[in-house]
């Protein structure tokens, strides 16, 4: 049986607390067209103090716990850590302050797109280019299919854009 996963609940909670973030990882790739399955959400938050405070409130509402069962303390837990893995009542949530090959939120937000997901949600999702960039830098064998899919999405979207330009 699949683990509970309710991305709408996680995203609605983040939005309600006015957290600024960009969605990356498996869920971001699915939104771009990848047909992989995922059990969680990966986000890159703005690491400004006020935003971390809001994120902390959202995590509290989602009953987020670290793998050791303790509640996260963001300002402490994010220091020197690549990824903060959490379990919430709505599934896995990974906080990634600076994904490989990027300079974090301010780097990704410029090309991120607000994607309509229903239920009034339009989260900011990292671009397909940035998803490919992150996977390429990690250079992990297990990411190869996801990287190939993102590269194909970019090619197809690029082809579509080219087609539009040619029609004009």
């Amino acid at each position: 049986m699949a683990e509970p996963f309710d991305p709408y609940l996680v995203l609605q909670t983040l939005e309600r607390h006015r957290v600024t973030y960009v969605v990356i990882g498996g869920l971001g790739r699915v939104i771009h067209g990848s047909t992989e399955l995922t059990d969680g959400i990966d986000i890159v938050p703005s690491t400004r103090e006020e935003n971390l405070r809001r994120l902390g409130l959202a995590l509290e509402e989602l009953n987020a716990r670290r793998p050791d069962g303790k509640q996260p303390a963001l300002e402490r837990d994010l220091v020197g850590r690549g990824v903060l893995e959490l379990r919430t009542d709505a599934g896995e949530l990974k906080i990634v302050p600076e994904p490989a090959g990027t300079r974090g939120y301010d780097d990704l937000r410029r090309r991120a797109v607000r994607e309509p997901l229903g239920q009034g949600l339009r989260p900011s999702v990292a671009s397909a280019d940035d998803h490919a960039r992150m996977l390429a830098v990690l250079a992990r064998e297990q990411d190869r299919p996801a990287l190939q899919t993102m590269q194909r999405v970019i090619e197809l979207e690029h082809g579509l854009r080219r087609g539009l330009y040619m029609e004009r």
Binding site: V30, T35, L37, V153, H158
Partner: protein, 97 residues
Amino acid sequence: MTSGTLIRQARTRSGLSQAELSERSGKDRAQIARWERDVVTPSLETLRELLQACGFDLEMTLVPYQPPDPSDEAELQRALERTPQERLQAMLKARGG
């Protein structure tokens, strides 16, 4: 991967702005922006110059071409015809959630 992705990847990995890359490479900043957006495609020589200005080089080797699996390609095409909302809901349905 497109040439635009490669240029942006090299530029951001070296921490350069488009203006700084323009200064280093002697290319027009607006043209760099167009290359990065894949509005136009630079020549191979220009691409290499840009990457070198970022501190990287382009290593090219011939490898056997593996066309995309037709069923994977068809699945991806179908996914791209859906809206982001439909893609998310299809994934949630597929995982039984």
